[in-house]
Symmetry: C2
Subunit: 460 residues, 2 copies
C-alpha cells in the first residue's frame, strides 16, 4: 500500500527534497518534446499532485497508456514547484502503469451534467463535485458523532426491521420471505409463515426505540438509515435516507432547543474548519456565498417564536402565498422560507404547534390545543430540524393514542416508560441528506447520497 | 436539563463542597431513624451516586415513593464520603419526585436471567449488565470511526435496499410495496408495479458498493446494518446485524492483513482505555480474565499461515474433530478454535483458501486453485474478520463470474472498476456484534444489540 495519500504529502512540507512513492489516478496529461506533466489524484483531497517526468524515465508504452482515468505508481523527488498553481511537485524517477483506461471511459475532461453522472453512479465519485460531496458527507458524519460524544450522549443502533408502525406514518416498505411465486392472497395471508411470524416493515424512525434507551442511559442518539415508501419522484425525497435522532432524559423543550442550536452550529463549524478546500469549491461553483451564509448561522442567535406568532407574522405580510394562512394549517415550505428569510433574516425556532398537525407522542400544553413541538428553520432550506418534548404523563399519552385511533396494545412498551420512573424528556430528528444539501448547496438530494433509492430507482 | 451526569460529577473532585443538582433513577434506598440513603443512577456510568438525606429535607410522601426505578431531582452538597465504597457522596438539601415506580416494576433488586430480560427489552438497559453492554457498544462504535479516520479512510453509507444479490449469498429479505391483500401469483408477479419497478432486497454486504468508492477516494469503510434471512435460531445468528467493511485501493493481501491486525488491536485498546469501569464488571461477572485475554491479543504479533499449512496442522493433530479434515473443506468453528487456542496460542491469520469455498471477487493466485483470502482467528471466538485482496483483472473476474453461473450483466458496474483504471485493492469485513461479544464475553448475540431480530423474533 502506498504509504502516504496526496493529502498527507501536500501537508508535509518537511518532506521537501525526499523521495516518495505515490499511487493514484491520472486526471490530465500533457507533454512537450522532453517533458511530461501528469496531474494525479487519489481521492484523498481535491488537489492533484503535479508530476513532471523527463521522457527518459518513462517508456513509450506507459506514456501512451497514461490517459485520463488510468492508474499508476510514481516514485520521485518532492520539490518546490515553480508554477503558481501549486506549492509542491513531484520530479519523477520512475513511472509505472497499474491499470489502463480505454477511450470509452465516460469521464473525459469535459464537464458532465449531474443527470448523466447519476447514470454512472459507480464512477461519479471520481469527479471533483462528487468526491467533494463524499468527503463532506464523511466529515459531517464525524461532526455528528463528535458533537454528541462530547456532550456525553451514547450512540444507539435502533432496529431497521420493525413490526410496529412507529409514528403511524403509513407508507412503509414491507419486509418478507413469503414465497411470492406460490402466493395466493385469496386464501388469506398467513403471516405466521413469514420470517418473523408477523408482518414486518422497514423503520421510518428510531425515536421510540431511542426513548427506551434515553430513559436508561440518559442521553442517546441514533444515526442510521430510515425508509419511506412515498411515491414522489422529486429532488427532495428519498425512499432510503439517514436520520440523526438525539433523545435526552431530564430535558424539556427549552433544553431541546438549546441542544438543537448548539448541534447545528457545531457541525457547520466543523465542516468549515475541516473541509476548507472542498467548501471553497462549493462556494465557487455550486452555491456562491455559501461559506458566508453558514458563518452567519454560526454567529447568529436563533430566534424563538411560537407557531401562533408565526401565523400572525404570515398573516400581516403583504405577500400572496400559494397556500392561504390560518391558525391550524401545517406550514408549507413557502411559509417557512418567508419567516426565516424575510421576517427574521436568520434561523428561527417555531414552538407550540397545534396538536392536530403533530404526532401523538408530543407533550400537550396546558391549553389543550398545542403541543411542545419545535421546528428549526434556516434560510435557503426551510425546516432542517423537527423535535419536541415528549408526553411523559401516562394517562395523557394513553388518551392521545386512543383519540388518534391507534391501538394502545401496540405501544405497551412505550407506555411502560411513563409507568416506571417517568422523566421529562425531549429529542429531535434531522435528515442527514438535507443537512448535506444545506452545507454544500447541492440542489438534488440524489446527489448527496452514494446510491439514491426512490420510486422506480434502485440501480447499483 | 440537569447540568452534569453522574459520570461527570464523580470525575470532578474540584466540585467538592459545591452545591449541585442531579436528576436520576433510584437503584436502592434504605433508611434509619433520621437518615435516608439513596443510590442514584443515570446511566452515564455504572457507578451510583450515593445520596444521604436527613429526613427533615424529604417529605413523607416522597420518601415513600422513592422505590427502585423511581426518578427524582436531588440538590445538595457534594462531600467526601466516609464510606469506603465511594469517594464522594451527596448531602441532600432537597429531594423531589419526578416519576414514581409501582411495585409491579419488573426490575426489582434481585438478579434476573438474560432470558427474562430479553422479554422486557425496553427496560433491560436499566440493569448493570445491559447498560454496560450499551456503553461498550457506543465506545466500540467510536473506536471504529476513530481508527479509520486517523488512517485517512472516508466513511461511506452504502445502500440498504438493493436490486443486486451482492455475494450470491441467497437468503435475502424481499422489500416490497406490492399489495399483498390483492395478490395472486398465479397471474404472475408483475414487479414493474412494485415500488422500485423491480425485485428489491435488503443488502447482505456493502462491499461491492464500497469498492466503487475505494476506487475513487482511495480508502473507505462502511459501518451499517446488513441482513440475512437465515432460518437458524441460535445464539450466534441475527437476521439484522451491523457490519464494518473497510476497502483500500493500492493495497494487496499483506497490507490488508496489517490493517486488520492494527484495527483489532486499536479497538481493543480503545475499550480497555475508555471503559475501565464497565470492563472490570465483565471481567468479574461475565467472563473471568477477559481484560487479560484482550491485553494479550494487543501485545501479540498475529501469526500468519496459509490454509494449506492450517490443514496440515489439523491433520497432524491427535484430536478427533467432529468434521473430518482434508484439503478443500471449509474450516469449522472447532478447527478454527483449535488452531488459535491449541496450536498457536494467540491470533492467527489464515490466507490463500481454496477458490471453491470463497467468493467470486477474491483474487486468484497463480496456482489457479487458491485465492487471496485472509481470515483472522482469535482464541475463544474463532473467526472474527474475513477479507481478501480483490480480483482486479477484468478477464479473470469475468471468467470467475461465468464459471459460478452468475450473470455478467448483473455486475456490469462492478466489472467497470476493472476496466477503467483498475488498481490492486483489498478489504475485509467484520460483524460488529461478534466484536462486542468478543470484548464483553456475552455469550448470546441477542444480548449485545439493542433489539435483536431473528427467526420469529421481531419484538419492540
Amino acid at each position: 500500500m502506498a504509504k502516504d495519500t496526496i493529502k498527507q504529502i501536500l501537508k508535509k512540507t518537511e518532506s521537501l527534497g525526499s523521495k516518495i512513492t505515490i499511487q493514484a489516478w491520472v486526471r490530465t496529461k500533457r507533454d512537450t518534446k522532453d517533458l511530461v506533466f501528469i496531474a494525479l489524484n487519489d481521492g484523498s483531497c481535491m488537489s492533484n499532485l503535479q508530476v513532471i517526468a523527463d521522457k527518459s524515465v518513462i517508456s513509450e508504452d506507459v506514456l501512451h497508456s497514461l490517459t485520463t482515468g488510468a492508474s499508476c505508481t510514481v516514485s520521485g523527488l518532492l520539490v518546490e514547484s515553480p508554477a503558481k498553481e501549486q506549492a509542491l511537485e513531484l520530479q519523477a524517477l520512475s513511472v509505472e502503469l497499474l491499470g489502463e483506461c480505454p477511450s470509452d471511459y465516460p469521464l473525459q475532461k469535459k464537464r458532465h451534467s449531474f443527470e448523466f453522472l447519476r447514470e454512472i453512479g459507480h464512477l461519479r465519485t471520481r469527479t471533483n463535485t462528487f468526491s467533494a460531496v463524499a468527503r463532506i458527507r464523511n466529515a459531517l458524519t464525524m461532526a455528528v458523532h463528535s458533537f454528541f460524544q462530547e456532550q456525553e450522549f451514547f450512540n444507539v443502533h435502533t432496529p431497521i426491521i420493525t413490526a410496529s408502525d412507529a409514528e403511524g406514518a403509513g407508507e412503509m416498505f414491507q419486509v418478507t420471505t413469503l414465497p411470492f411465486e406460490t402466493f395466493n392472497s385469496s386464501e388469506g395471508i398467513d403471516y405466521s409463515r413469514d420470517f418473523f411470524g408477523k408482518k414486518a416493515s422497514l423503520t421510518v424512525s428510531g425515536q421510540l426505540s431511542a426513548e427506551t434507551y434515553a430513559t436508561a442511559l440518559g442521553r442517546v442518539y441514533t444515526f442510521g438509515p430510515t425508509f419511506r415508501a412515498e411515491n414522489s419522484n422529486t429532488s427532495r425525497h428519498l425512499a432510503e435516507f439517514w436520520m440523526i435522532e438525539p433523545e435526552m432524559s431530564f430535558c424539556d423543550i427549552n433544553g431541546n432547543m438549546d441542544m438543537a442550536e448548539d448541534f447545528l452550529k457545531y457541525v457547520l463549524n466543523y465542516v468549515l474548519e475541516n473541509c476548507k478546500e472542498d467548501m471553497e469549491f462549493f462556494n465557487k461553483f455550486i452555491q456562491k456565498g455559501i461559506i458566508n451564509d453558514l458563518q452567519e448561522v454560526i454567529n447568529s442567535s436563533f430566534i424563538r417564536i411560537s407557531y401562533t406568532k408565526a401565523i400572525e407574522d404570515l398573516q400581516s405580510s403583504s405577500v400572496k402565498f400559494e397556500y392561504p394562512v390560518s391558525w391550524g394549517i401545517d406550514l408549507a415550505s413557502e411559509h417557512e422560507k418567508y419567516l426565516t428569510e424575510e421576517v427574521y433574516h436568520g434561523p428561527v425556532i417555531i414552538t407550540d404547534y397545534p396538536k392536530d398537525i403533530k404526532a401523538f407522542y408530543m407533550k400537550m400544553n396546558d391549553d389543550g390545543k398545542t403541543v411542545r413541538a419545535m421546528d428549526v428553520l434556516v434560510p435557503r432550506l426551510g425546516e432542517i430540524i423537527g423535535g419536541s418534548e415528549r408526553e411523559n404523563r401516562y394517562d395523557v399519552l394513553l388518551q392521545r393514542i386512543k383519540d388518534l385511533g391507534l391501538e394502545p396494545e401496540d405501544y405497551w412498551w412505550y407506555l411502560d416508560l411513563r409507568k416506571y420512573g417517568s422523566v421529562p424528556h425531549a429529542g429531535f430528528g434531522l435528515g442527514f441528506e438535507r443537512l448535506i444539501q444545506y452545507v454544500t448547496g447541492m440542489t438534488n438530494i440524489r446527489d448527496v447520497i452514494p446510491y439514491a433509492r426512490s420510486a422506480r430507482n434502485c440501480d447499483f
